[in-house]
């Protein structure tokens, strides 16, 4: 197999890694996206020149920032500090695997350390879904982002050491700066930080080859490496007129008079056009696709997952707070000891004065030292579909509803949300699918869902409310998506008759509104009437009329109105 005959995403990543290794403090780090053998090889190669210190996702503040060394403090009887990981990684870089899952608090600490200087971070982003991404506060502060998911290479990756240093490269001239700024503008890159990175990258590229001056290809590469991955819009088809390229290039001034390519620039294409072209070619394909659709580029997962909740008994450990261990709260022994350590000498003296007790007594703990553990539990969000399977809702549209449920379920493992399904038709409502994340199971249940018969809307609403209440009782959040035309004709007791059915439906809807459950009414019938909107109003929820929606459109619409998994 010819693995080396085409351009591979690894090529640019190697270039970025060489720049990073040249000056870790300047470029701050890189985001390496895509779990692939290529990335593993690159990280290994990077580790040769830069000391990479692995930072596990479950690192605590104590180790990250430094703090009191418990064991040493206890044995010496006075507080002894120890350095944190950020301090220890100084000069090298911290390596964070699965950065898309990185905790926001840790990201904040790292961002702060990056701003203070001296720290550098390499993020390994394993995200496979557009909803996932490392915290933006962090990735924005790192010069480079490379996507290696599609790379076909993994052998023979090494970083050729630079021939020069950044300090020996002259600062960029005004032309270059202007062209970079214009390119950033064209790509919709607002951050000045990105612009600074791009400039330094251009100089770094010259340094790699031991040159003292940057040239056009350096600028083009810098744009490709730094600005293109940050693009938020496609550059206009024609080059923008904004850069003052109609002015003649400023005459080379004294300190930079060795810049002799003045006349060359007259013949070559405009620098900012060149840079925009370079960027265009490097904008990641998926970004391109989402930009072309007018969508925002992917953003951090922190908002896409279930609601976070502080819990006392289970979940991811969060740290401790002062308190008494009771009511299920667990004592955080280490934190309690840590709180007690600084006071030992004082307390021993006090104790000795008061009672003349043995100074070699064990640790003197007081009530105010006690700390209890806190955990973070992500509350799963459960979206409950109440599907009108009656004849009036046009059984034909049932297929779309089924498809929408399946599509939303397919996203469920990303957003950690669950889906339940209540169907109502004839004279009954039935919980067909209890809250689940299982696609397999949902698909089977949905396939068996029949249609036709009357519209017992009140029964359907009641059943949906009961599911929602059970979900809430388990500490999770619930949202209702009701697919119906709202034309109730079966009353709550199962007897036919429009007026009673409508009154019962209104009562049921009010009960849902009173519980404060989020609701969305989607009318997918061919000719939406006023009933659906009225129902939504009684529910205190929103209304969507989608007379011609297919499964995909329906999912998109529901997501847009009420993003699954997002906290209400």
């Amino acid at each position: 197999m010819n693995l080396h005959d085409t351009a591979d995403p690894l090529d640019d990543a190697v270039l970025a890694a060489r720049l990073f290794a040249l000056a870790p403090q300047v470029f701050k780090g890189m985001v390496l996206r895509g779990n692939s053998p290529a990335r593993e090889a690159l990280v290994t190669a990077l580790g040769v020149g830069v000391t990479l210190r692995r930072m596990p996702g479950h690192v605590d503040d104590e180790r990250l920032l430094g703090g009191i060394d418990l064991a040493a403090s206890l044995s010496s009887g006075r507080p002894i500090r120890q350095t944190g990981l950020i301090e220890e990684a100084r000069g090298g870089a911290l390596l964070a695997a699965m950065a898309e899952r990185l905790d926001g608090a840790i990201a904040g600490r790292l961002a702060q350390a990056l701003d203070e200087g001296g720290a550098a971070v390499v993020l390994l982003d394993d995200a496979t879904e557009p909803e996932e991404a490392p915290p933006q506060s962090l990735s924005e502060r790192l010069a480079f982002a490379c996507d290696l998911a599609a790379s076909r290479r993994w052998q023979g990756v090494e970083l050729v050491p630079a021939m020069g240093t950044l300090a020996h490269v002259a600062p960029l001239d005004d032309d270059a700066l202007r062209a970079l700024a214009a390119t950033a503008e064209a790509l919709g890159v607002d951050s000045v930080r990105a612009l600074i990175f791009a400039g330094e990258a251009a100089r770094g590229l010259a340094a790699l080859e031991g040159r003292a001056l940057t040239d056009r290809s350096d600028l083009a590469s810098a744009v490709r490496l730094v600005l293109a991955p940050r693009a938020t819009r496609l550059p206009p088809q024609e080059a923008p007129d904004t850069p003052p390229d109609d002015q003649p290039p400023p005459p080379p001034d004294g300190e930079r008079d060795d810049n002799s390519d003045g006349e060359q620039q007259q013949q070559e294409p405009d620098l900012s056009d060149l840079l925009v072209e370079a960027a265009k070619a490097a904008i990641p394909a998926d970004l391109l696709a989402s930009l072309a659709q007018g969508k925002a580029p992917r953003r951090s997962a922190s908002s896409g997952t279930g609601q976070k909740r502080k819990a006392a008994t289970r979940g991811k450990p969060l740290g401790a707070r002062p308190g008494m261990p009771r009511g299920g709260a667990k004592l955080a022994l280490i934190d309690s000891l840590r709180a007690a350590v600084p006071w030992q000498a004082v307390r021993l003296r006090e104790l000795g004065r008061e009672t003349g007790a043995d100074p070699a007594s064990p640790i003197l703990m007081r009530k105010e030292d006690l700390r209890i553990r806190r955990f973070e539990e992500r509350t799963a969000r459960v979206t409950i579909f109440a599907v009108d399977a009656s004849g009036s809702a046009a059984a034909a549209r049932l297929a779309e509803a089924k498809g929408a449920v399946e599509l939303m379920l397919a996203q469920a493992y990303v957003t950690r949300s669950e889906v339940a399904l209540v169907a109502f038709r004839g004279t009954s409502a039935e919980l067909l699918l209890p809250p689940t994340r299982s696609l397999t199971r949902a698909r089977r249940t949905l396939a068996e869902l029949p249609g036709g018969g009357g519209t017992p809307l009140a029964l359907g609403l009641n059943a949906a409310r009961e599911v929602a209440e059970a979900v809430i009782a388990k500490g999770r959040s619930a949202a209702l998506v009701i697919l119906t035309d709202g034309r109730a004709n079966i009353a709550a007791d199962g007897s036919p008759g429009r007026p009673q059915a409508a009154a019962d439906a209104e009562t049921a809807a009010k009960a849902i509104a009173a519980r404060g459950i989020d609701a969305l009414v989607v009318d997918i019938s061919a000719r939406p009437g006023p009933e659906g909107a009225a129902l939504a109003q009684t529910l205190g929820g929103r209304f969507l009329a989608l007379p011609r929606a297919d499964a995909k459109l329906l999912t998109a619409a529901i997501n847009a109105v009420q993003p699954i998994g997002k906290a209400a």
Binding site: M1, N35, P37, R54, G67, D69, T128, P317, L407, R441
Partner: protein
């Protein structure tokens, strides 16, 4: 409890083959078993671990360090003497806490002698052996995260409670779960080299045979084990020979091309699928004692190596296995 002999497990050939391949070449990655409860998943994994030749590890070492580990992690393991010990098999309970999995500060020693000591967790125990997680799809998210990280890097890095410890943790991850009870995160799924689907045997005769064997084992485990010792021994030899042969086998250009074409045809994303497919075919050839890796090996192992890597189309209900067999038929006739 005496372990059930590997060779006495009735049926479930695909699962047994996957486990043996993982034993021949642990670098393939773990085995994910999809299926119902009570289909012999944990029995098979446990039996395999008990069957493998003992490993040489530093005496008293809590991590089971080999000579190479000692050189790589000088701070972790100091005793020099190598003694043999059985291949570790660690059963990770679903409700395990983070502390228990990655290890924690040894409080007793910290309080008594002011010594900062690390109390190794399950990951340390599983080093060079098997880590078995039943119902892995129900495992809490933050545990999945840390498992993924360790499985990928082969070492456990602990930076908490004032501890800063790095120790080797290379293990064959064996997961099992029922997809009806929840999906597995794609990143975790991707970590598994092979996946198999097991079902409870529907054949009455097979079920009776299983019941008979289990009853015999319970009645008199020793003589039961003795009766199967010969066959277990034969399997052990096959694995040992396969391991030795593995280094000599290299997949040729044609097999590599086949692997690439097949991955492309079924839409298995990424290079990892191809590499795993190639390695698994090689391990299978080694296990069978073949002289070279051929297309036959590739075809035999392709469903196991690829079925969990296919891009999912929610609205397409065709099973992954069917898609792979179809692609094989189209490509290779």
């Amino acid at each position: 409890m005496a372990r059930f002999p590997f060779s006495a497990i009735v049926g479930q050939d695909e699962m047994k083959q996957a486990l043996l391949i993982a034993a021949v070449d642990p670098s393939i990655g773990g085995v994910m078993v999809f299926g119902d409860r009570g289909t012999g998943k944990s029995t098979a994994a446990r039996a395999l671990a008990g069957l493998l030749p003992p490993i040489m590890a530093a005496e008293g070492c809590l991590y089971g360090c080999s000579k190479e580990d000692q050189a790589r992690y000088p701070g972790v393991c100091s005793t020099g003497k190598m003694v043999s010990r059985p291949v570790p098999f660690v059963d990770m309970p679903l409700g395990a806490t983070e502390d228990r999995v990655i290890g924690s500060l040894d409080l007793e020693r910290a309080l008594r002698s002011g010594e900062k000591a690390f109390e190794p967790g399950l990951l340390a125990k599983a080093h060079r052996g098997f880590l078995y997680i039943d119902e892995i799809n129900l495992l809490e998210d933050h545990l999945v995260d840390l498992l993924l990280d360790v499985a990928a890097s082969g070492e456990n890095v602990v930076e908490r409670e004032g501890l800063s410890v790095r120790h080797p943790a290379k293990f064959v991850l064996i997961g099992s779960g029922n997809p009806e009870e929840g999906e597995l995160r794609p990143q975790l799924l991707d970590r598994f080299g092979l996946s198999v689907e097991v079902r409870s045997p529907k054949d009455i005769e097979v079920r009776i045979a299983i019941m008979r064997l289990v009853a015999e084992n319970e009645r008199d485990p020793e003589s039961f084990a003795a009766r199967w010792a010969g066959e277990d021994e034969a399997i052990l030899k096959r694995v040992a020979k396969g391991k030795a042969r593995l280094t000599k086998l290299e997949a040729g250009e044609d097999v590599l091309r086949d692997a690439a074409e097949l991955c492309l045809a079924v839409g298995a994303d990424g290079l990892r699928g191809e590499l795993t497919l190639m390695r698994a075919a090689r391990a299978l050839a080694a296990l069978e004692g073949a002289k070279s890796v051929t297309r036959k090996h590739l075809i035999a192992i392709a469903p196991l190596a690829l079925r969990h890597r296919l891009r999912r189309d929610v609205l397409d209900e065709t099973g992954s296995t069917v898609r792979i067999t179809r692609a094989i038929a189209e490509l290779f006739g």
